[in-house]
């Protein structure tokens, strides 16, 4: 007997449970967008090659385009719509807004979800490909501009907003103080044109 090609599943999204029948082919991305009307999560490439569809699954960032919805049952999913609390922007959202960490805005929800995870991953002591020495004895690397750039590289931005994105992540990670390598890249006094 051919196996069933659809299932009734319960997805837990932003703390809310949704029960829905899904075609097994449906990705978490499409389920969020087309079935739950949570369209903040964007489809850029649908192949895990751009990061626009990044959400948090059990607190970890993941590309929802390669995650089958049926296989996401039982896991806690957080989308961009669930990031702000009680109308208060998440510090990462606020930093992206204030520092213009975007242009067209299409990659932005994925960038923000990714950045939230980057800050947590760094706090957990995870090294990255930018970390000079990954051995535990070397200690946890500071979240420098280079570390942020590498850790955020799974989120492509075609408008070219990376410079502001790095500043925004740095600000959200350490509101009081920008990390080394970003201070001189500050936005500067707005409107500082100089005389010809």
């Amino acid at each position: 007997m051919a196996p069933s090609t659809s299932s009734a599943i319960t997805l837990t999204v932003n703390g809310e449970k949704h029960t829905l029948p899904v075609d097994h082919r449906t990705t978490l991305l499409d389920a969020l967008r087309d079935r739950l009307d949570l369209t903040g999560t964007k489809k850029g490439c649908d192949q895990g090659q751009c990061g626009a569809c990044t959400v948090l699954i059990d607190g970890r960032r993941a590309v929802s385009c390669l995650q089958l919805a049926v296989a996401a049952e039982g896991r806690e999913i957080t989308t961009i719509e669930g990031v702000a609390q009680d109308g208060q922007l998440h510090p990462v959202q606020q930093a992206f807004l204030d520092l213009d960490g975007y242009q067209c805005g299409y990659c932005t929800p994925g960038q923000i979800c990714s950045a939230i995870a980057v800050i947590q991953e760094h706090a957990a002591g995870w090294p990255s490909a930018a970390t000079a020495d990954v051995r535990p004895a070397a200690g946890v690397p500071a979240l420098t501009a280079d570390e942020i750039r590498e850790r955020m590289s799974g989120n492509l931005c075609r408008c070219g907003a990376y410079v502001s994105i790095v500043r925004a992540v740095a600000r959200a990670a350490e509101p009081a103080q920008a990390p080394p390598g970003t201070a001189d890249a500050s936005v500067g006094p707005a409107g500082s044109g100089v005389a010809a």
Partner: protein, 330 residues
């Protein structure tokens, strides 16, 4: 993408039984490669057996002092593991050099070993490809092959294996454990991938229906002084055009032990045993490193547009071994 059934396995024998002998069934791990291939029509499974919740998600020290890595350990957890970072730093670096943070959170060790080539002809069902459709031909040999194999290829396929992790596993003599319908088994890493030959579509020596359960790293003190270096066409989030895992033990300016493996040069992670033989017992000098690289690369058969990889790998061998020599002398 055709319609398919979905089953979630809860234990290893159950997973193997669910897959059974169905040639259209596939194990689903993180899905980062399989689901993509299903979207492009390269893979068209009729049944997915989800193995992600199997209790194979631990990294454990073995009795002899090695590491046993469960096959559903994610790339992220592997790279973050303190024992991996302390004892096999090149493995952690290799994993961190691959894909993106999001994909590393999803991808599993077992799936990484089984990921398919990124050859553009393989990925496009409208084009011939001996790996995808046996006997249909290999357009890469006369077409676009800038990032194709220089070692161990055949007239039937010149694709390269895309894994970074696998390069480090090759260097450290990993052993792959699996469960098949007739019970458990294991394969040394050198035997895990099959030669390309006339059957590029047959990639591993795993028995049909087998599920990878673990990858074991034997103890290797030399691995504590190891590095992974990857060259690619952008600084991050890209597949290698050449990569190298190296470990070196130098005493009194002589090479006591060395491990070398190359990525993005062959259909599998390429253990550079010829170079290792040439180096072992000899001087730890730039000249000796270059001679060893040349010995390994003497077997290279570059195509018209990928000869640069010979130069690249030679340079990487020398550069990385010099770095490790300097590190050892500190």
């Amino acid at each position: 993408m055709r319609e398919f059934g979905y089953r979630r396995a809860v234990d290893v024998p159950g997973a193997v039984a669910l897959l059974g002998a169905d040639p259209e069934a596939r194990y689903l791990g993180g899905g980062t490669n399989l689901v993509d291939l299903m979207k492009t029509g390269v893979e068209r499974p009729g049944l997915l057996v989800d193995v992600r919740e199997l209790p194979l998600d631990r990294v454990e020290t073995t009795a002899d002092g090695g590491l046993r890595i469960g096959s559903t350990v994610t790339n992220s957890d592997l790279a973050a593991d303190p024992e991996v970072r302390r004892r096999y730093p090149a493995l952690a670096q290799a994993v961190l050099a691959g894909a993106s943070g999001q994909l590393r959170n999803m991808a599993t060790v077992g799936g990484n070993l089984l990921q398919r080539t990124r050859c553009g002809y393989f990925a496009d069902p409208a084009r011939p490809c001996n790996k995808r459709v046996p006997g249909s031909g290999c357009p890469a040999i006369t077409g676009e092959h800038r990032n194709h194999a220089i070692l161990g290829a055949s007239e039937h396929c010149v694709a390269v294996h895309p894994s970074d992790m696998g390069v480090a596993l090759a260097a450290f003599d990993a052993v792959v454990s699996y469960e098949a319908a007739d019970g458990p088994g294991e394969l040394a890493f050198k035997d895990f991938y099959l030669p390309v030959g006339e059957s590029p579509h047959r990639e591993t020596a795993l028995p049909p229906g087998a599920l990878i359960t673990a990858v074991t790293l034997p103890p290797a003190p030399v691995a504590a002084t190891s590095r992974y270096r990857k060259v690619r066409e952008r600084a991050s989030y890209a597949f290698a055009i050449g990569s190298i895992a190296a470990a070196l033990d130098v005493r009194d300016e002589a090479v006591r032990e060395v491990r070398l493996a190359f990525g993005a040069v062959a259909s599998r992670p390429w253990r550079a045993r010829t170079a290792e033989r040439v180096l072992t017992g000899g001087p730890a000098t730039a000249e000796a490193f270059a001679a060893a690289a040349d010995a390994e690369l003497a077997a290279a058969e570059p195509l018209p547009d990928n000869g640069y990889k010979v130069t690249l790998m030679r340079n990487l061998v020398v550069a990385l071994l010099i770095e490790l020599t300097e590190e050892a002398s500190r």
